[in-house]
Symmetry: C2
């Protein structure tokens, strides 16, 4: 089942107005959800909307709260998200980092007491569309065992890096686990094995069987010990810069997960001059990375799949889960 972008956006907007959002905030929040599905990141859009409404009902997300400045030091600011909607808070924070970069060349907003930002890539696209190199990351509840451990004591702490390029930006949006639980469930549902080892089974052996990993709750960090270390650094830097909660202080429950810490960085290339040269160098780097001429190779740059799906979904409509869709309407 497919629906148009406008229909999806309007339907989400009505639902948000229905639970009491102000009009402008409802519109942006609905847009961020709808664009996530438009771009094919189906795990973080409509599918997650019922959980978002549940978090509002439980008082974990305060729909009227906006970030509040705690302390600023020029290009570096610390804000309190006051447990507002995670995607609105994140969008606000990247907008503020972009504004700071206009003034200082680089801008950094550290945000505490916020909520799940849904699709992290959204704030990368936001930065790139403003002509900025954007970097942001978030910590999460514990959902990933450190390398050498069996219990989830790390978050999968997604990291986003975006580079503006005409006509199409390059946006990396990656969690520190090799496969998310959503991806594991999708492989299992299709009866497929993972393309590479994704975690351990109950006997502590590396496996490509998604069900065995769900059972052991031992997914792999990317690069084994390397991603384990990187996830720790992302938690440390987010919590310390934001003065907020670290992963081990966040409830390990997909609905209760609240109060996370995030960092948003924007770099203003135009402050350094030669923006056209930069865009053309970016294009050259990506072309060389892809090297389309190499036989039998399918090398995709970060964000390339998103752009293809976006075009297809704009034309054909966005696939929606009929059950979630009916419930929402």
């Amino acid at each position: 089942m497919r629906v148009s972008y406008d229909e999806l956006h309007q339907t989400l907007l009505r639902a948000l107005l229905g639970v009491g959002f102000e009009r402008g905030r409802a519109d942006l929040c609905a847009r961020l959800f709808a664009e996530t599905d438009l771009d094919g990141v189906y795990t973080h859009g409509l599918k997650r909307f019922p959980r978002f409404l549940e978090q509002i009902r439980r008082g974990l997300v305060d729909i009227h709260a906006s970030p509040e400045l705690i302390t600023g030091a020029g290009a570096l600011e610390r804000w309190d998200g006051r447990r507002g909607p995670g995607n609105l808070n994140a969008h606000d924070s990247m907008r503020r980092a972009i504004a700071l970069s206009r003034e200082h060349g680089v801008g950094c907003v550290a945000l505490r007491e916020t909520n799940h930002w849904m699709r992290g890539g959204s704030y990368g696209w936001q930065a790139a569309e403003a002509g900025r190199v954007g970097v942001c990351w978030t910590n999460t509840m514990p959902n990933l065992p450190p390398w050498g451990a069996t219990q989830a004591r790390l978050g999968n702490n997604p990291l986003v890096i975006a580079v503006p390029r005409a006509p199409e930006h390059v946006v990396l949006d990656m969690a520190m686990s090799q496969f998310s639980y959503g991806a594991l469930a999708a492989y299992r549902a299709r009866g497929e094995q993972l393309p590479v080892d994704g975690g351990f089974d109950l006997d502590g052996r590396l496996t490509r069987d998604p069900a065995a990993i769900e059972e052991s709750a031992r997914p792999l960090p990317i690069g084994f010990w390397k991603g384990s270390g990187l996830a720790l650094m992302l938690d440390l830097t987010a919590a310390l810069l934001a003065g907020g909660l670290a992963t081990h202080q966040i409830p390990a429950d997909a609905v209760e997960e609240s109060g996370v810490s995030q960092v948003f960085l924007a770099f203003d290339l135009s402050a350094l001059g030669g923006q056209e040269a930069a865009s053309s160098l970016a294009d050259e780097i990506v072309k060389h990375f892809k090297n389309d001429s190499a036989e039998g190779e399918a090398v995709r740059y970060p964000g390339e799949r998103v752009l293809n799906v976006r075009r297809e979904n704009l034309e054909r409509g966005i696939p929606v889960d009929p059950e979630v869709w009916e419930q929402l309407k």
Copy 2:
């Protein structure tokens, strides 16, 4: 064979004075090399020193060149490394980023036309010792095939993230390849298999055999497609911010590799207040990550091995390759 830190430092210092370095620069350069061996990163210290001298002889490294400011925009500056010694240039750049962070909360130096920074971790420790959260990365010559490709079109682009903590800092220093060529050679020399898949063999199968990966020249990026994407973003951001060379423009030869691009970021936690709370939170996060009580687990945080080796080498002397050592003396 082991030598004391002072003997190693003095011997390197004499060699640098011998090829014409000014005294102060020779001293710092020798210290950065000697500390690398002291910390057990033997691939990037004394062992690499002959190659460094060869680069000086060939005119790839200009021992008298220092970075020059190209353009500044408040907290973001672009510098030209003028092909000076890579470790001195990097140390200068992190020092400048630290100074900028004192003024602006965050400081960023993008450096073009520099040389191999030797051990990237050095500049992470430098930031942490100055009480800063430090982040830096470099591009390199092409030495890693993108995911889906067979030819090396990416650099392994090391990324460093450092967090100050009393009494011991947390410093991640990781390349985007799962194993460096140095690591592959070491495993092969010991007749050992890799602990996890490290690349492809000539038939395109994943393998733990280090010799097979050296033969195919197809090491794996960390996390397969994920590290491939991250390495691309590090090259893009370094080249664009520095206005310098990208990986595909850097000669793919370990001696000829020159003119790389780097980024140095420092964040001043004290500008946000509550530095003691930050240090105690960092400690709590690391303790929770390690969770020493868990049976049979050996979870190490980034930098932990370095600290253990540093203590041992200070006490027992630093292991040196007798051949390189005699040649140097």
